[in-house]
Amino acid sequence: MSLRTEVKGLFRSSALRLSLALSVLFVLILLVAGGVAQYLLSEALEDQIDDDLKVRFETLAVQVSQSLNGEDDDDEPEFEVDLFGDPRQSDNLIFFASFQARSGDTLGFSSRRLFSRNGHRTIPLKVEAGDDEVSLWRIYTGPAAGGRLTVAQRWDTAEDLLELLPGAFIAAGAIATVLTISAGIGFGYVAQRRLGKITRALDEIAEGNLSARVGALGRRDDLGDLASHIDATTDRLEVLLRQTRELSINIAHDLKTPLTRLRVRLEALALENEEGRAGETAERALAELDRILITFDAILQIARMDAGASKKRFEDVDLVQLASELSDAYSPVIEDSGFRFEFESTVPAATVRADPALIKQAIANLIENALRYSVPGGAIRLIATPKSICVADEGPGIPDEDKPRVLKPFVRLDEARSNGGFGLGLALVQAVAQLHKADVVLVDTKKVAPVGLTASLVFKA
């Protein structure tokens, strides 16, 4: 097996496909889980910060009102400044508070946004003049000592924490995907090796080699069970087919002996009464018997080919040459039956592996069908190319819906097309084609009635 087919086979392996599907599913689950986790975590963080802010606000509000009440007449209330902190003075500040008195004077960091309304909010603040950097803050604003007090906690840092989460999820997802796919490739490769063994054995069996077996596949698992089941089935099939073959040979022998005796007696009768009526009857009976025998042989021949007859008589056959021999044999017959005969062939360029005797017989059947079913006056054409032989007649043709059916044994169309034959001619052609892995193609010769039938035996390139 070439590397290419192995790689191709690997991508068709169900194990790899399963692992790919699982990876996709896993990534989807991670995405959803990550999203949910991030949402829940950010909610929890917000709640916690809000609780913190509330506590700080209440403590500060008490302190602010105490210090305001303590020094009534002082315009500049003096707090313990470190309680408030000022983001302008420190980069690393994560907490500050500002108070806006009723007069509008602000203590601590001042921004219009800080006191715009009460309650919890998240706002961006530019805390350092001249600095473009805007930082996010979670704030709580409420009334205190006649003015408004805002407490703020830095939100960026909390968000930094949240941003870690997707990274963690992506890393986990990527590692899991890589691992699942490599495991899938590994399993797929092993499974493909074992499936390949099964496929090769089945191919051989399909070609008629019923002694082919899958053999031991190593482990005892579902594939191993499948292999042993296939082997058991093939064992059984081989026995049955051998029995059938022996049976058909036995039938041939057992029936042929009495048939031979029958023929012998009829022939003796005809010989003894050469001039009488009994002799005539015996002659007719002989002719009828010979017709039965031909059918009998055709059935046996088809049965043997269907059972995967041997290909030991296969050789390189030049189809054009073979068709020209048939043309030599049949052109006087066709012309004397009142048809025009045309033989068309291309220059032979290639040969096919075939059993020449069988191909000859198949094409002879097609020619005889054309003779039997078409009306004298038309043309019968034999067309040969290196890969195909066609017989085209100008008879009534076969309706499209019946075309596949006529290739089966004992199928005859209406009375108009059933003068004489037992419906085995095309079935034999089909059996010969199958033995050669070739196709029987039936098409209309013409578009106008009578359409005619063109039957071709087409070999695969």
């Binding site: 040979i249 041939a252 022998h253 042929k256 002996t257 048939l259 031979t260 005796r261 029958l262 023929r263 012998v264 022939e267 003796a268 002659e283 018997l289 025998l293 031909i294 042989d297 046996l300 021949q301 043997r304 007859a309 041997s310 008589r313 021999e325 030599d328 044999a329 049949y330 006087p332 017959v333 004397d336 039956s337 005797a357 069988l358 000859k360 017989q361 002879a364 020619i367 005889e368 003779l371 004489g420």
Partner: protein, 226 residues
């Protein structure tokens, strides 16, 4: 001719024995393969007629043993195993002809006659380049046919057909024998391939001369007699 028949079926054996005796042959009829092998190695026959499925030793093994013992007597298989594979097997083992049962006695008679003639003429083995019968002459090298000094224009198959009939030297050629020899066809076409070609040949070799050269033997075949 002296013939041996190996056939275990009493009725068919009797028929073959009677028929061939009536034709003037001396026939030894055996029913067991081992006896046939012994008889075939000791006696000198002109033709052996072997069934394939016989008690003691099958016909194919009899033939192989005889050929191994350098007995070159022509062998005709007369058997119910009529498949192409069986035929090829029989001919490859050294059989000279193969006739599947059920058979017409005329077919057997003609084939036995052809084989007997082969064994007697094989001693001479002269490569002939010219064949002649009556006033017909065939030049095998130049593929030319003349009758009474006049050229007769025959195509390839007509020439081969006439050659087969002349070579058979007064013995009947059956339809099937001609199909095998001239057209290399081992199956029986339902159409009249042989009859048509014979009639064309007659149109060229008989009609201009106003007589009959090729005689049709009803139910048997064709023959050209001196």
């Amino acid at each position: 001719m002296r013939l041996m028949v190996l056939e275990d079926d009493p009725e068919i054996g009797q028929w073959v024995y009677d028929g061939l005796t009536r034709e003037g042959h001396v026939v030894d009829w055996l029913k067991d393969g081992r006896e046939a092998l012994a008889a075939g190695s000791i006696n000198s026959y002109d033709v052996l007629i072997l069934d394939r499925m016989t008690p003691g030793l099958d016909g194919l093994s009899v033939l192989k043993a005889l050929r191994a013992a350098k007995v070159a007597t022509p062998v005709l298989f007369l058997t119910a195993m009529g498949d192409v594979d069986d035929r090829v097997e029989g001919l490859e083992a050294g059989g000279d002809d193969y006739l599947a049962k059920p058979f017409a006695f005329s077919e057997l008679k003609a084939r036995v006659g052809a084989l007997g003639r082969r064994s007697s003429s094989s001693a001479e083995q002269t490569e002939t380049t010219k064949l002649s019968v009556k006033d017909i002459e065939l030049d095998l090298l130049r593929r030319k046919c003349t009758r009474a000094g006049q050229d007769v224009d025959l195509n390839g198959k007509e020439f081969a057909l006439l050659e087969a009939l002349i070579r058979s030297n007064g013995r009947i050629q059956t339809r099937n024998m001609l199909l095998e020899k001239v057209w290399n066809m081992n199956f029986d076409p339902t159409t009249s391939v042989v009859e048509t070609h014979i009639s064309r040949l007659r149109g060229k070799i008989e009609k201009p001369f106003g007589d009959t050269v090729i005689r049709t033997v009803r139910g048997a075949g064709y023959v050209i007699e001196d």
